[in-house]
């Protein structure tokens, strides 16, 4: 029993990782259902209806189920999978090791963070079994759709459970953030300067700060939404709303207020997801070229700038909401300029790799994949940051392509890189390189095959969150492209079996790993024990700063 409620940061880190993996399967299956519906909307899906009878009507998917699918896919992937794996999982396991501390600053608080996250996962999954269905207003939960129970079935109990799950998740993340900050800033081994730390540790520092300062905005908004739903207030509900012919009483509030509060968190949140992978990539480049990244200090400054500026760009999600043109211009400026520190990272990475001998291990491949995704996804972001271009592309598949490539893709590849890289640390064995390479190549190909064509679909006018695009004449020609994308997505999903196979068979059957199988210089490898504080290993002195 004490093993389950362990206070050891390594156990807690693995608990986060395994829970996130389970949630990833759910999130991935939801995505497949979405893709199947978009590509072939009028097909008979009776064989799926056997497993999910509530979502289908004589084999045809119900539109409200589709809305719940994209809502829950986004919510689960962003919070319960990627944040949990990268920050809860890797962060918890590695921060104390990388900073030379015995454990996190507050081990009991750390365990509590995990269990609250676990509880929030149960709540969000439970919402699938509510009679009126899970939340269906998008992961963005814009009111009045999310506030009025009659607006869509999912806005009944499902939306409440969504809000409760999010509240619990935010508590978990906040407690975790306090632990991370306290450990990195105050529990570092004496003599270890911040500038000695791997860039992954820096990314955890910034992620903790971002989370602590940004999540409260969503907390505030969620409390107000709960009040609007249950306490008769009108924070977000304007006067004179007529839903299906019925006048809703009260009002005077502002739906746009929700958008401001939501995106004030929402934008830093996407950087929370991306920064760990940026840190991991730099560290992989360090280990597998045998030399520290080019411009280590600039990389730190770049991460700091990206983090700071992430608080100033949220309005770019609202360019077409009718906000004042002056505000629009201001946000366009900040959004476009955040590409400057991002560019610094890309150029420094190229300089880190140019003319260097590379060890193309699986983690290194994933890091190179992140490099590619960061460039591709970052560029499409620049398009969207200009107000006039955004008019045409907002709420189209172009946006879906953008964030899946840069945010989801970079985060996902970061998880794979981290798992392969730290597997020997976690479990004392190596994962299979062959399976790892095969998994990487398949994922790299199918990831781009799935998401790159969405740029074109968006340019040709395909809107988002649409149950049946072919209701529109002008979108009918996109049927073939959508079919292609769905097949690529199915191939992508199937490819992940390679990872799970590799992971689980290597747990028992992987070749035993030495103490430092990658010849890395960071403390999590060069320490032979987590207790006590032996001198840094011989390799750390050999790596030039």
């Amino acid at each position: 029993m004490s093993r389950i409620f362990s206070l050891d940061h390594r156990v807690i880190g693995l608990q986060y990782l395994f829970t996130a993996m389970a949630m990833a399967i759910v999130g991935g299956l939801l995505a497949l259902l979405i893709r199947i519906q978009i590509a072939w909307p009028d097909h008979d899906y009776s064989w799926i209806a056997v497993v999910l009878p509530a979502g289908f009507d004589s084999g045809i998917m119900k539109p409200e189920f589709y809305a719940a699918l994209f809502t829950m896919h986004g919510t689960i992937m962003i919070f319960f999978v990627l944040s949990a794996a990268l920050i809860g999982g890797f962060g918890n396991y590695l921060i104390p090791l990388q900073v030379g501390a015995r454990d996190m600053a507050f081990p009991r608080l750390n365990a509590l963070s995990y269990w609250i996250y676990a509880l929030s996962s149960v709540v969000i999954l439970a919402s699938f079994y509510v009679p009126s269905g899970p939340a269906a207003s998008g992961w963005t939960a814009y009111p009045p759709l999310s506030a009025l129970k009659a607006a869509i079935p999912g806005s009944n109990l499902g939306q409440d459970l969504w809000l409760v799950a999010m509240a619990l998740f935010i508590v978990s993340f906040t407690l975790g953030g306090l632990n991370f900050l306290a450990t990195i800033l105050a529990m570092r081994r004496p003599g270890l300067s911040m500038l000695d730390l791997p860039l992954f540790s820096w990314s955890m520092l910034f992620v903790a700060i971002l989370g602590l300062l940004a999540f409260p905005s969503l907390t505030a908004a969620a409390i107000m939404l709960l009040f609007d739903r249950h306490a008769g207030t009108s924070f977000f509900l304007p006067a004179g709303v007529v839903l299906s012919g019925d006048l809703i009483p009260g009002g005077g509030g502002s739906p746009i207020l929700w958008q401001h509060l939501f995106w004030f968190l929402g934008h830093p949140e996407v950087y929370i997801l991306m920064l760990p992978s940026l840190g991991i990539t730099s560290d992989m480049f360090t280990v597998f070229t045998g030399r520290r990244v080019f411009g280590y200090k600039s990389m730190v400054v770049a991460m700091a700038l990206i983090s700071g500026m992430s608080f100033l760009v949220w309005g770019h999600h609202m360019f077409v909401s009718g906000m004042s043109p002056f505000l629009g211009s201001a946000f366009a400026v900040t959004t476009t300029l955040i590409a400057v520190p991002s560019g610094i990272k890309v150029f420094n990475w190229i300089a880190s790799l140019w003319n260097r001998p590379l060890r193309l291990t699986t983690p290194m491949l994933w890091a190179l994949g992140i490099f590619s995704l960061f460039v591709t996804g970052g560029l499409s972001g620049i398009w969207l940051g200009q107000t006039q271009v955004d008019i045409q592309l907002h709420d189209t598949a172009f946006v879906v392509a953008h964030f899946h490539i840069i945010m989801a893709g970079a985060a996902l590849f970061g998880v794979f890189a981290g798992v392969h890289y730290w597997f020997p640390l976690f479990f004392g064995r190596m994962m299979s390189e062959r399976l790892g390479i095969a998994h990487f190549l398949a994922t790299f190909v199918f990831y781009y095959a799935t998401f790159f064509p969405m740029h074109m679909a968006g340019l040709e006018g395909q809107i988002r969150r649409v149950y049946d695009p072919y209701q529109y004449e002008y979108l009918k020609p996109l049927a073939a492209m959508n079919g292609f994308i769905t097949w690529a997505a199915i191939a992508l999903a199937v490819s992940q079996l390679l990872f799970f196979w590799n992971f689980f068979t290597s747990l028992r059957g992987g070749s035993p790993a030495g103490v430092n199988p990658w010849s890395a210089a960071s403390l999590e490898w060069t320490e032979s024990e987590s207790e006590g504080s032996p001198e840094p290993g011989p390799l750390s002195a050999a790596v030039e700063r």
Partner: protein
Amino acid sequence: MVEAQHTRAPGNRLWGFMLESPGNGGRLAAVFAFLTLVFVVWSGYAIATSVLPPLAANRGRIDAAISLNLIISGVVFLGAHLALVLILVRRPREARIPRENMRIEVLWTVLTAAVLIGLLINSEIDARALGSRETGPEEPLVVEVVAQQFAWNFRFPGEDGILGRTDPKLVDQAELNFIGLDKRDPAAEDDIVMPQSLLILPEGREVVIRLRSMDVIHSFFVASFRVKRDAMPGLATEFSFTPTATGMFEIACAEHCGLGHYRMRGAVEVVPRGEWLAKIKEVTE
């Protein structure tokens, strides 16, 4: 630290060149590099040849901006991925790349910022142009667009040029009064209410759209006009454009608004100027 052993392979120079790539699999690097190249070529071609819906309004600046972005991002995309490919296949030289070089960092940072600022200036110019009204003697045509779950309501102010009063309490779906028009208001007498989800516009005359919503947030999107604006409940926003081609164009709702979001389709028919009034009378009879 790992130092790769470099020896010149005899025979075919290209293959030897590739086999000499560092890493624990020169072939792996080659395969990865090849896949990257395939991706770059395929994606570059695909996006460069993708076509926006045919332009039918005076908002071609957006098309130009998209083309500009395509070129600039294309260069960076190609450049970065070419660098990746070269990194994978080139034989490394122990060159004197220092671990830090402030000057080069400043150089590429300034270059990036300059390009981005150029895009921003262009964006600002475009935004102002797109947001401004036409200067000309002709009065724009005002259209009120009211979105609801799941249809579009259109109304012209008629000859008095004033849109009649509406009141949410007067909404009567049975009477087909979807927007709550107050029929007792004299200004409402000559208002022309279109059949739901059908808008007819004259070609070449500026249109001012006054957009709002009855219930949840919707978004008025006509891909061919390069027009998109959220329809907010409790707030009316305005924007303008001029249709420049005749034909039938589809209106899509571009903000998730409920289970009928996918079928919230409308039609805009643009007819030659002379025929507009007659067409309106025809459909509102």
